[in-house]
């Protein structure tokens, strides 16, 4: 055995060992805890009134967040890619901000500006709209933390799909409708799906911002992650395990589905991380000098 293969083997063992210790062991611990309880306990735990209403609220809010994010994310991506307007650079730089801001700080910001003591809060109150300690506040917090996903997964695709492509199809006699369905949609779909699915998974697990804005009233504004936190604090590992496992299963299923839907044949690396790739063509070579 040469030193080169020895070195390779050492590196491989280090990588596999580290990942197992850091990621697989903790997952195995929760799976084990869940097996101790058995399937009957699992169903019993997630169907208690408090747990089931937390799960339903979380799924509902995450779904609503995903829909709004998909709509405004797509619109934002199109505007940021296609239009030249004052402040474009500024908005484009801001998109990444939710990844850099601690989620707890997000919660504080939303609570401060949409709370009952501000002008905005009072104005909303006159219209009988409560944001804080209610479902809209939860959706707002989820929207904030997931904002970059759709925009950042669509931007690179939209840049590749230059307007010329559509114009080519159009000049070859395709109607605007056909152009949209046959050219635009198929090339944009994988990016959109990635953004949408990641948004949903991220929203399901959100904790830091929601714990501040939701008020966490059991059966009313308590989401699943806050419920799990409560169970841990009150020394009920079984209840915490069942709800955690339920959320984990949904998240993993969604990601597996995403992988199946977006992976081109022959590609082996997961593409979930696409959003973090820098959207290169935004900077024109002339601007760099």
């Amino acid at each position: 055995m040469t030193t080169h293969t020895l070195l390779q083997l050492a590196l491989r063992s280090a990588a596999v060992g580290y990942v197992s210790l850091l990621i697989l062991f903790p997952l195995a611990a929760i799976a084990h805890q869940s097996f101790i309880g058995g399937i009957d306990h699992f169903i019993e735990d997630i169907s208690t009134p408090q747990a089931s209403s937390a799960l339903v609220l979380t799924l509902e809010a995450a779904f609503l967040t995903t829909v709004i994010n998909a709509l405004f994310g797509t619109l934002s991506a199109i505007v940021l890619v296609r239009y030249e307007f004052p402040g474009r650079w500024f908005l484009n730089a801001l998109v990444d901000l939710p990844f850099a801001i601690p989620t707890l700080v997000t919660g504080l910001m939303i609570a401060a500006i949409y709370g009952p003591t501000t002008i905005l809060g009072m104005w909303l109150q006159e219209g009988n709209i409560t944001l804080l300690y209610a479902k809209p506040g939860i959706v707002l917090a989820m929207l904030f933390v997931t904002m970059p996903f759709t925009i950042r997964s669509l931007q690179p695709v939209l840049m590749e799909l230059e307007r010329e492509h559509e114009e080519a199809a159009f000049s070859l006699g395709a109607s605007p409708w056909t152009t949209f369905w046959k050219v635009t949609v198929p090339s944009v779909l994988p990016g959109l799906l990635t953004g949408v699915f990641l948004t949903f998974v991220r929203a399901l697990g959100e904790f830091g911002s929601i714990v501040i804005v939701a008020g966490n009233i059991p059966m009313k504004t308590q989401v699943a992650s806050v419920y799990v936190y409560g169970e841990i604090e009150s020394y009920n590992p079984q209840g915490a395990t069942s709800v955690s496992v339920f959320i984990l299963l949904i998240s993993f299923l969604v990601l597996v589905l995403l992988e199946r839907l977006t992976r081109p044949p022959g590609e082996r690396m997961p593409r979930w991380f696409r959003w973090s790739k820098p959207p290169l063509p935004m900077i024109h070579p002339s601007e760099i000098g």
Partner: protein, 268 residues
């Protein structure tokens, strides 16, 4: 007409969700004057929180750079059974809620488990102490460096390294003088994301730390405690400090993007 409507709604969306809340937090933090802001930020509890966050972030950054590089190299350069599984497992932390991540560590290191008993007899306190807080942050941030490096490693290939070897460089020289420099913008990007996430980590750390004042209370935990204790000025002041750090991080990200874009453009 459509154009103006679109641009207008995007500005509106950004203002409502991002710009408004950020500006308002800045105003709120100085609600009782600069003196109050300064008092809150320099309180012993707050300073301790900042220091602890800094320590955890430093440890996590070093660990992620070392093991992230190794894992990325193994993933891209080596072919072995289970490589696809390894690749899939790396992304899992992104889909795990921070509270659940912390809870998993409690289940793993609790006093009644094998690992918990083992560390207990050694006299090492894992839960409600530094080790668990570092582990929780490592779990949340592990994918960043790996996922920045893998596409870069795929793009650059091994030609340059082979050339260096032919010219007589040993493995260590090849790695230090050829591979690492080519990966530098990936490192910058991955490290920045790691730092941002490590500073902001809350849910997982809250669960495993016990949130003990002046002992295991990080900056985010201190904000939470101040908020729960109705000390809004204190919470906002420390939050604004972290927000300033976020802006610094964002600036680094933008610069890294511009630089790496320049490299790609000149390569084409």
């Amino acid at each position: 007409m459509m154009r103006r409507l679109f641009i207008g709604s995007v500005w509106f969306y950004f203002a409502l969700l991002l710009i408004g809340p950020i500006l308002y937090l800045a105003v709120q933090s100085f609600d009782e004057g600069i003196a109050a802001f300064w008092r809150e930020v320099t309180k012993p509890e707050a300073l301790h929180g900042f220091m602890l966050t800094l320590e955890i972030t430093a440890i996590v950054l070093v660990m992620n750079l070392v093991f992230g590089t190794i894992t990325a190299l193994v993933l891209v350069r080596q072919h072995f059974a289970g490589r696809t599984v390894l690749s899939g497992v790396i992304d899992l932390p992104f889909s795990v809620s921070p509270v659940i991540a912390g809870f998993m560590l409690i289940l793993l290191f609790g006093p009644e488990t094998i690992l918990g008993t083992f560390f207990g007899t050694l006299g090492v306190k894992v839960l409600f102490a530094m080790p668990a807080m570092v582990l929780a942050t490592l779990f949340a941030t592990f994918p960043f460096v790996v996922r920045e490096l893998t596409p870069l490693l795929q793009t650059i290939g091994t030609d340059t390294e082979e050339a260096a070897r032919t010219l007589g460089a040993n493995e260590w020289q090849v790695f230090l003088k050829v591979t690492l420099p080519m990966l530098r913008w990936g490192f910058v990007y991955g490290a920045t994301l790691t730092v941002a996430r490590a500073i902001g980590e809350f849910g997982a750390v809250l669960v495993v730390s016990g949130n003990i004042l002046m002992l295991t209370q990080t900056a985010t935990l201190h904000i939470y405690q101040s908020y729960v204790d109705f000390n809004y000025v204190g919470a906002n002041a420390v939050a604004l400090t972290l927000l300033a750090v976020s802006f610094a991080i964002l600036t680094v990200l933008e610069l890294a993007k511009a630089k790496s874009a320049a490299i790609v453009t000149s390569a084409n």
